[in-house]
Symmetry: C2
């Protein structure tokens, strides 16, 4: 088979994303994350190297479960300090022509009317290269600083997100008709007010009666990404997402998720393969297997185990600070934390200790790690593509930009040789066209957003 693979880079505006502590190495430049040059150089590297997009993760809180405080995360630089991912995008867009930009933004803490405008602005400025990874937030430490006493319960966050997207879709897809903007210089008419409509949204969580503030952008709706793996999250993804990030230790484990997702999409009336499933992983690629293995081993020596447990605490709510490193996880498992721990270890072939868990998480977070020559890694990726039934990969970094430089230098040429990577578009294309999830740059006509009704046009 020769399904093309979507190649994406996963990063975050901080020093330690999925490999805490690595910033301290001489060959790592993550600590330059506050400079524009760092991001511009990264964007150019990825575009020239054949990546489809750069995905920027985000959190609005600190990881403060481990040991009951944020101290270890702050000390190690594990996702804190963290900048807003959006402001650097236009500088990266100006330095590139084809690279897409996905950005994680939560639906819980800001009004949709304002966020919808920010995304449309980004879509205009990038000429249709923007995607939105829709999340609902998971850190109590964020909720408490953003007007809530604690995180809203998980499933209700998805109810809110559902309505949030409905509001955004109405603004993006239905408020301004395709021919509303006429730019008639002779008659001095910029837009035809009869073709700009109030959306009249009055829902359970949001009241947005008015018209959108922006004229339609190339994609109108940014490409919708989602990563929720819970039953409610999968249902949400099947309804909204054009691409879904999945993560799991083995192709078999991921296959269970992709099957469930494609099934859910079919239930929602969509072609199950119209949704692109992108697996997160870490690939260390050098000329030979040995060189790559040595490099990975050297990375492992640099990784911070306490930083890994700080991240683990935030992701799962399980505080492992009170246990010695050699404690077997099986003795720590309780009814309350079983599913969290299982998710991390279910395909492991033996009972892990706290230290083994920390070592695993400390490079590449929750995702699998592979190291090898271009041939070895390309073989493994083909295996993933087939066994896990995924459409592409979201490559995490260990060092930034080192991990990406190695992928561009060693891996992409091999993937190209095998015909697994589409050539860069001859003329700049939108992110949606590059992913092939819609009708050209626009959301597919079959997508739920396109069929939404807005209030009857204002009588005039």
């Amino acid at each position: 088979m020769n399904r093309k693979l979507s190649l994406n880079a996963f990063a975050m505006a901080c020093v330690g994303h999925q490999s805490p502590g690595l910033w301290a190495r001489d060959d790592d430049q993550s600590a330059d994350y506050t400079s524009l040059e760092h991001w511009i150089d990264l964007a150019r590297l990825l575009e020239d190297g054949g990546f489809d997009s750069l995905f920027l993760a985000d959190v609005l809180g600190t990881y403060d479960v481990y040991g009951g405080s944020r101290d270890e995360a702050v000390r190690v630089g594990a996702q804190v300090p963290v900048s807003d991912p959006i402001p650097a995008i236009s500088a990266m867009a100006a330095a590139t022509k084809n690279l897409g930009f996905g950005v994680t933004v939560t639906t819980t803490y800001e009004q949709p009317y304002a966020l919808a405008r920010r995304f449309t602005t980004l879509d205009h400025l990038t000429k249709g290269r923007i995607g939105w990874n829709v999340v609902t937030g998971y850190l109590d430490s964020a909720a408490k600083n953003l007007g809530f006493t604690a995180q809203i319960p998980h499933d209700e966050r998805y109810e809110i997100a559902d309505e949030y997207l409905e509001v955004c879709y109405k603004l993006w897809e239905h408020s301004w008709e395709d021919d509303a903007v006429v730019r008639d210089r002779e008659r001095g008419i910029y837009a035809d007010p009869a073709k700009v409509h109030d959306i009249g949204h009055h829902g359970q969580y949001y009241d947005v009666p008015g018209a959108f503030l922006c004229e339609p952008s190339p994609q109108r709706t940014p490409v919708i990404f989602q990563a929720g793996a819970s039953p409610r999250g999968r249902q949400f993804a099947a309804k909204h997402a054009e691409a879904i990030f999945v993560i799991g230790p083995t192709p078999a484990a991921v296959r269970r998720t992709t099957s469930a997702l494609r099934e859910e999409a079919e239930k929602a009336g969509r072609d199950p393969y119209s949704i692109k499933i992108i697996a997160g992983l870490t690939a260390i690629v050098r000329e030979s297997d040995e060189e790559a293995a040595d490099l990975l081993e050297s990375y492992r020596q640099s990784a911070s185990l306490s930083g890994a447990l700080a991240l683990f605490g935030g992701w799962t709510g399980v505080d492992l600070a009170e246990y010695p490193y050699d404690a077997p996880l099986v003795h720590i498992t309780t009814d309350a934390n079983r599913s969290a721990l299982d998710a991390f270890t279910r395909d492991a072939d033996h009972e892990w200790t706290v230290e083994e868990l920390a070592r695993w998480v400390s490079i590449g977070g929750r995702g699998p790690v592979m190291a090898g020559s271009p041939t070895t890694v390309a073989d493994t990726l083909e295996e993933w593509q087939q066994e896990a039934d995924v459409d592409g990969f979201n490559f995490m970094y260990v060092t930034r930009p080192g991990t990406f430089t190695d992928i561009v230098t060693h891996l992409v040429p091999e993937l190209r040789r095998r015909g697994l990577v589409a050539p860069a578009p001859a003329t700049p294309a939108s992110l949606r066209e590059r992913l092939g999830t819609g009708d050209g740059a626009r959301l597919s006509a079959a997508h739920y957003a396109r069929s939404l009704q807005i209030a009857a046009p204002t009588p005039r």
Copy 2:
């Protein structure tokens, strides 16, 4: 006297900011506002031309008072459609070294915890070149789409803004100590958690118990700009602002405002001249008086009177759609709208008609308009500097970038010849250093923000 003048450009991410309808001229490029290139070219023009900063206005609603609908604003492109001003900034920053960027953001519609992070991110990425024009919003059409049934009453908006800034200051100035970030690569310590503090803010409008998400940026607090002219607005500005935008038809009218502001600052315990007062105006500059006058006349022919009345309606709440153009304003004045109309016409030497008001507003909005040779306009600006006691100007555009190109080409050289403009800094400086309002890049030690207390450091 030879006080240097601060030169700033005033623009907005839309086609018609203060001169509605001009976008339709062949010599205007405003309709390219959705492209990054438009903004990058503008930033380079301003930096090379000796401007200190570019200020970006914003509204989150449409002007829908005139005729009871937004239709005229949409037709003419009067501040609608309008993009988010923030996303383009990093691309402009990457293309410049010294230009500052001020941006208008309201305190009414977003949590301070998230906005504080966005500003710190911008301050990092621009290397200390960011300013915030703090506004509280004035359009009902914005409030209704952002979770309110109507605009919060004027003075209460300032109460909220006061606490909003208090939260931001605590996050920016007090959460992370100066030496909290150590970046100790040997020991793998990014920051010292003992020097990162919860702010423990529990106020009337906001609860923000935690620590800031960002490490300190060059300026920490962005340069604080303000433009409120009401008594409550002046009091707010005297407490917070490092620079204040004023607008008025004549030097004498503006002098009344600057005197009141400097008095209010003194009452608030600040050096009245530590606050920079920047007057908004429109200057049409060509080689000769005649050429400039002709150009202005040609601009007036292109301006949209209905667009002007649409803007006027949004600014004042007064709908002039029901009156004929030749109706004298004196007959329209009621108790309810007197102050709004007076503010526009108080220095006029005769009773205006609706049409005269519309003509005045249609070029340069509420501000004065001057046209002439470099000598004439420089003379007028010197007169303003002295009579109105202002520290600089915020130049509005009629055509974009035409008005700015003319200022750069014709006016700035004349101002330089007179020693009224400081040379560009030899090495890149922060916006605050360029304005001279603080202690280097940091807020002045005398500023209220610096003396705020946060909750006692978390015991550990």
